[in-house]
């Protein structure tokens, strides 16, 4: 009796683990499912320790995740390497505070949008075979998330809301957001990978926004020739920054 109970518990654990693993890493699924785990087969005694397996999977996944996160944030930086999201990058980087606010708002939107679009893709679009509506559906979700962010920000930080102005609703059309959602599908990321990819991209976006805002704040104090003052020098600086980020090339993928 006790044996049987243990066996069932192990079975459930494995089922649970399978789900988790699917969420975590679809390509590792096959390795696990090949292990026989019928309660009656007594596979637990045959040396297959679920805890060990789980730990190993998670550990491998973790280092993958860390690399994914860093790689997305720095090496394949969404702004300076992929050249996505340039509109807010140039538009809201005048002041450090607003750049940080924009970065955080975009982080929120991007991560949420990446997650929501993954769910949408795998729970709605793929089962119904209507992937051709992907862009439409994604934009719908992104717009809703942005609207929500806007409502929250208006309530919590009216000054930031005022400062960000039109750039806040424009997150909807920030190509980084849609780009990341689409890249997630294209690169067949798992749920967690999608989330991390979204978050990493957003972190990279925020990092670059903040760095660039710092540079531009200093530029306002410099005696830039009139010919280059304002946007021209900002573009030149962005170019040099992109040049510097090329130093990360080859670190990941």
């Amino acid at each position: 009796m006790i044996m049987v109970q243990d066996g069932w518990q192990v079975y459930y654990k494995l089922i649970l683990m399978e789900r988790v693993t699917f969420l975590v890493m679809p390509n590792r699924l096959s390795r696990l499912t090949t292990v026989g785990h019928h309660p009656a087969s007594g596979s637990v005694k045959n040396g297959i320790n679920p805890a060990f397996l789980l730990e190993k999977t998670v550990r491998a996944a973790m280092s993958d995740y860390l690399l994914l996160l860093l790689g997305t944030a720095l090496v394949n930086n969404v702004v300076l390497v992929k050249f996505l999201g340039l509109c807010p990058f140039m538009g809201v980087s005048n002041k450090l505070d607003s750049a940080l606010g924009m970065g955080l708002a975009t982080t929120f939107v991007l991560t949420l949008a990446a997650v929501a679009s993954w769910l949408l893709e795998h729970l709605l679009l793929a089962p119904l075979h209507i992937e051709f509506l992907r862009i439409l559906a994604f934009i719908l979700v992104i717009a809703a998330v942005v609207q929500f962010t806007e409502l929250v920000m208006r309530k919590t930080s009216p000054v930031l809301y005022q400062i960000l102005g039109v750039f806040l609703p424009l997150i909807t059309t920030n190509c980084a957001v849609l780009g990341v959602a689409l890249l997630n599908v294209q690169q067949q990321h798992s749920f967690i990978q999608s989330m991390l990819f979204g978050f990493g991209s957003a972190a990279g976006f925020t990092l670059v926004m903040v760095i660039f805002a710092g540079l531009r704040e200093r530029l306002t104090l410099m005696a830039v020739p009139r010919l280059f003052a304002g946007s021209p020098i900002a573009f030149i600086t962005a170019g040099i920054l992109s040049l510097a980020f090329m130093g990360f090339a080859g670190l990941y993928k």
């Binding site: 710092g214 410099m222 020739p225 040099i240 080859g250």
Partner: protein, 357 residues
């Protein structure tokens, strides 16, 4: 006689310090290592050096003229000479003449005068030029030749040197090779493990004396170190950046070398190669593009160190010091924004201290 119309604020005294004096001191400190580099690489190095410095000065004069600033007076601050000099120090000594000119143009025009001239630039002009050249002309910028001691016959003659600098080398593959770091990178990518892949090619003494392939000025480390410490002693630079930079690279290299000596270079070779000493004492200490406060400078140095190590070890550019410096230049405003000295009578956050009796 007193000028009654003009209001002069205190102080009515002044220390004997001037921008040009500081710049001249740095130039003097660079002298020995440059001479050494020219000696071991021969005439082409001298030509390239002269061309680069002259081009830098010409570009500076042209930009000053365009900006309507006094040309002669401003040139006398020696900043353009210094920039050109530093670019020349980081170039492959047998690079063609136009590399020097393009580099000087990049540094002086794009790196400096577009921003408004001396003191206004966000990025180190010399490093900007170097990184720009490296990306635009990878072949010319990675053609390294073997140095030969003191006027030996192995060095090209005067006419031959003119050909090298102004027309180009014919037998590039025959004389050129990789730098230490480039070599390590290639060998590792072919799964040749470290201690063996270095055998007979790079020994420690040669690395430290600068008798190995490299850029013009990264040469003799003892000379660079002595000059660096002379600058420290003169108070021209402060120790925070160079020491933290070198310390970080040394520590990271030691850790990884102990962990896996077959894949990670020894710390002493790390310190001795890739113009690390030159970078830490002469480039990362650039006033304009590095932080103001001691703690900020330590962060800057550590950041440079980490980035240099990461880019060297895992990235595609083994000579990645320029990228590291540019990247840290870009975060300098942030460091200056967040790291500030503690104000008298206040804590680090700017709140007044508690009264202690």
């Amino acid at each position: 006689m007193m000028n009654r119309a003009k209001l002069n604020s205190s102080p009515h005294a002044k220390a004997d310090s001037a921008v040009s004096v500081i710049m001249r001191q740095v130039l003097m400190a660079l002298g020995p290592a440059t001479l050494f580099g020219i000696c071991i690489y021969g005439w082409p190095a001298l030509f390239l050096f002269i061309i680069t410095v002259t081009a830098a000065v010409m570009f500076e004069a042209w930009c000053l003229r365009l900006a309507g600033k006094p040309v002669k007076a401003t040139l006398q601050d020696y900043s353009a000479v210094l920039t050109g000099w530093l670019i020349a120090m980081t170039l492959p000594p047998y690079a063609p003449w136009w590399i020097g000119v393009v580099g000087a143009g990049l540094a002086i025009v794009v790196g400096k005068h577009v921003y408004g001239g001396l003191g206004q630039n966000l990025f180190n002009p010399a490093m900007l030029a170097r990184v720009g050249l490296l990306i635009a002309f990878p072949v010319e910028m990675t053609t390294w030749v073997q140095p030969h001691p003191w006027f030996s016959s192995a060095l090209p003659g005067f006419v031959e040197s003119l050909r090298i600098t102004f027309i180009g080398m014919d037998n590039i593959d025959a004389v050129s090779g990789a730098t230490l770091l480039g070599h390590v990178k290639t060998e590792l990518s072919q799964n040749h493990l470290l201690p063996h892949s270095l055998d007979g090619l790079f020994d420690m003494a040669n690395v430290w004396l600068g008798l190995m392939r490299g850029s013009l000025g990264e040469g003799c480390l003892p000379l660079l170190l002595v000059s660096g410490f002379w600058l420290l002693n003169k108070g021209v630079i402060r120790w925070y950046t160079p020491i933290s930079l070198l310390g970080t690279v040394f520590m990271l290299a030691t850790m990884f070398n102990i962990y896996d000596p077959e894949h990670y270079l020894s710390p002493l070779l790390h310190l001795g190669s890739g113009a690390l000493i030159l970078t830490s004492f002469f480039i990362a200490t650039d006033y304009v593009t590095s932080p103001q406060t001691p703690f900020g400078q330590i962060i800057f140095g550590c950041g440079c160190g980490v980035l240099i190590f990461v880019i060297r070890t895992w990235g595609s550019y083994p000579e990645g010091a320029g990228f590291a410096v540019l990247l840290m230049n870009s975060v300098t405003p942030l460091i200056d924004h967040y790291i500030r000295p503690r104000i008298y009578g206040r804590d680090h956050k700017g709140k007044p201290l508690e009264v202690v009796d």
